[in-house]
Subunit: 443 residues, 2 copies
């Protein structure tokens, strides 16, 4: 799965980087919410104590920010990178939640400016990467921070970030719970209702815009004309951005006829993403039929990757381990075999081992993975060796039985699934493309 992701990311011009796993705690613990999950390093000789100066990274954004900050003089912007590494979090393990797990991130980061169309690009690359995996179809739910902020300000919400954090809990605590939280934070009943109404709007295309504009017309609550105008401008900017993004992503991900698969993007105005960090598009992605897993690929547009500002970007992150856990645990896919070998070259007797090794090397020279039998047992035993490992072919060197056609040349190759056995030349014969390498197969 990681190779598949690598391939799609690279085809779109994203370069792979890898950063060290160990970072200074001071850099890791900036976000107070994350800091409680950080693993620190100590030394056994010091009795496990430490001055807690180093820790394991808990995501790939913090180390990427350091990477960009340190290399800003050498990097070419906009800089497109992908990064697939393990991260560590000291949370309570549960189904689909691990303490050591893989994330796969892509980001595009600009210097001072970043064109908005790159938000759609990142979403398209991620949609295609997910489509390359052995998983059900995904739906990418998108919202826009400018849109939400403009609307919230227009209905009189002053603490927009606080309101967003409450709306982010819709799934957990329901509309009534969110309303209660909002009003406890000083949001008026009418404004809370408006915020909840906005969160109901969703559409698989740009038609969401009409619903937002209608709601805006009926619910603007502040009577400060200047604030209304500013809010409306922000709202309009957000609507335009979200419309363009949903259209671009669906154009790029729909089937050719657009009917069987309308594209993966859905404008969904309840998507909040708790972090203040985001300033434009925000994304959450759900697996059809496995929505209980939560978002498998999230992210958004931010004003600066680096604390000092000046590095706007957009990024998304796949929770690879959680996805793999569901795929394997749910029996959605498995590997066609456990070993790379397509062929086991049998050994007639130990004196002839070199001949078998020679055949194996000629197959390898043409990219066919194979191994030589570790012993010269009866052929039935050697076939069993292949069968137990899922190796589909066994090669018998030299003459086999009394068949005159096999008396010369490299011998015969047997497909141990069908039992079919034919004379073959080690410089010519090849397995089918399906059998060449282990594959991911459904179910």
């Amino acid at each position: 799965m990681i190779s598949q992701l690598r391939e799609v990311f690279a085809l779109h011009g994203y370069g792979e980087i890898e950063t060290r796993v160990v970072e200074p705690i001071a850099r890791l613990s900036g976000d107070s919410d994350a800091s409680k999950e950080i693993y620190t390093l100590g030394r056994l000789t010091a009795g496990g104590d430490s001055d807690a100066k180093l820790g394991l990274h808990f995501d790939l954004t913090v180390p990427f920010a350091r990477y960009v900050e340190e290399r800003q003089g050498q990097l070419q912007f906009p800089f497109k990178r992908f990064q697939i590494q393990k991260v560590w979090r000291g949370e309570r393990p549960q189904e689909g939640r691990f303490r050591e797990f893989y994330q796969a991130d892509i980001d595009v980061v600009g210097r001072d400016t970043l064109p908005e169309h790159l938000e759609a690009e990142v979403a398209i690359v991620m949609a295609r990467a997910l489509a390359a995996l052995p998983i059900p179809a995904v739906r990418m739910h998108v919202n826009n921070r400018a849109l939400v902020e403009g609307f919230y300000e227009g209905v009189g919400v002053t603490d927009v970030a606080g309101a967003l954090r409450s709306v982010d809990k819709l799934d957990k605590i329901g509309a009534d719970g969110v309303r209660a939280e909002l009003t406890s934070k000083g949001v008026s009943e009418r404004a809370a209702d408006a915020v909840l109404e906005l969160a109901k709007i969703t559409a698989p295309d740009a038609s969401f815009a009409v619903a937002v504009e209608d709601l805006w017309e009926t619910t603007v609550l502040v009577d400060d004309a200047e604030l209304v105008e500013a809010s409306q401008l922000k709202l309009a900017r957000g609507i335009a951005s979200l419309s363009a993004l949903v259209t671009a992503v669906n154009d790029a991900t729909a089937n050719a006829d657009g009917t069987t698969h309308p594209g993966v993007a859905v404008a969904d105005l309840r998507i909040a993403r708790g972090l203040d960090y985001y300033t434009g598009s925000v994304f959450e992605t759900f697996l059809t039929g496995h929505e209980d897993l939560g978002s498998i690929c999230s992210g958004g547009r931010y004003d600066s990757l680096v604390a000092g500002g000046g590095f706007p970007g957009v990024g998304m992150s796949i929770g690879v381990s959680r996805l793999v856990s569901r795929i394997l645990g749910g029996g959605l896919a498995s590997a066609s075999r456990a070993v790379p070998s397509a062929v086991l070259v049998a050994v007639t007797d130990e004196e002839a081992r070199a001949a078998s090794a020679g055949i194996a090397d000629r197959l390898r020279a043409r990219g066919i993975a194979c191994e030589v039998s570790p012993n010269a047992a009866k052929f039935g035993k050697q076939i069993q060796y292949a069968d137990r490992r899922g190796i589909p072919f066994v090669w018998f060197p030299g003459a086999v039985g009394d068949d005159a056609s096999a008396a010369t040349g490299d011998g015969e190759v047997k497909d141990i699934r069908s039992g079919e056995q034919t004379p073959a030349d080690a410089d010519v014969w090849a397995p089918s493309a399906e059998d060449l390498k282990p594959r991911i197969v459904p179910g």
Copy 2:
């Protein structure tokens, strides 16, 4: 480089596994020498303290042993695996020594028995993996524990393991230093001389055997006939094993005519490897012209991977980071470009971005990595964008200039190194194999 290693290992039937980075300290700290380098884990919320139950693995052998122990019921033996992961050691960093670094290991592990020819197989696979890397030729120095033990016992050394640890320091403390250490451990002067004479024997083929036998004839020192016979048997077994291995490895790694490259294996009777763990072949590998780097790939045959016994195996490990550090630091090789893209598809104006994206997608469908210009700047600027990233081709969609031949179709593609520009079809055109992907280039 890691992809190259993966490819060679898989072609030889070795399957990739990955184990968790964090292991229980109790499992990691078995070897008292390693335990002082172990990093332990703690939690920030606990003030960096911890009960030191978990730590980071410091090699790939300890976690592989756990893997085999836990899965012995499911695995098929002999089990061939490779594993390329980072490991952590709290040593003092210096040139070529890191605290977080990559190792690449292969091992074959049997259940109860393991044919001796697999020792040669592992050495051959490693020699081929190293030959696939952008590094100078290597010499693989091989010794055999049975040979050394038989000889040492025959000259009256009782603490063979202690003597081996002293001989292992030959490079550091010289022959006089080793002699002093040996005699201080109770080895007689004459026995110490014999041990040092044995360490001088080296040959690029099986001819070492004569020298060993000659030395044996003149220096057997014990006068216990039974012990002499047992020692001689062990010695003979070791000589036979080492001869077979050196011959097999050189046959498999020599050039076709055997003259320009005689094969990578050298019988070298000074190779000691400090660990008691090894019982048969032991390997150390040196980079021609960079012997100061020390061994870049070491390993050997062992009686059991698992503490309880019953899992004999043979394995070797490449110090990948140390090698990469020398390659880059020494200017031995570099990447042909920093980004995966072979092509930058230019954008004529923002309204035509979709047309450029369409061309890019048709190239990607044929495996050609490309990106679309982030802006519709003057073509000169877009060429500069490609040039700064090392992208060799820029694609200009639609008609370019007044050239009638370019007025229809997909436009023109320019090789920005030669300046050559030709009309091209996005379903047909392809870069040369050399330009398709970033490559490792010498110098």
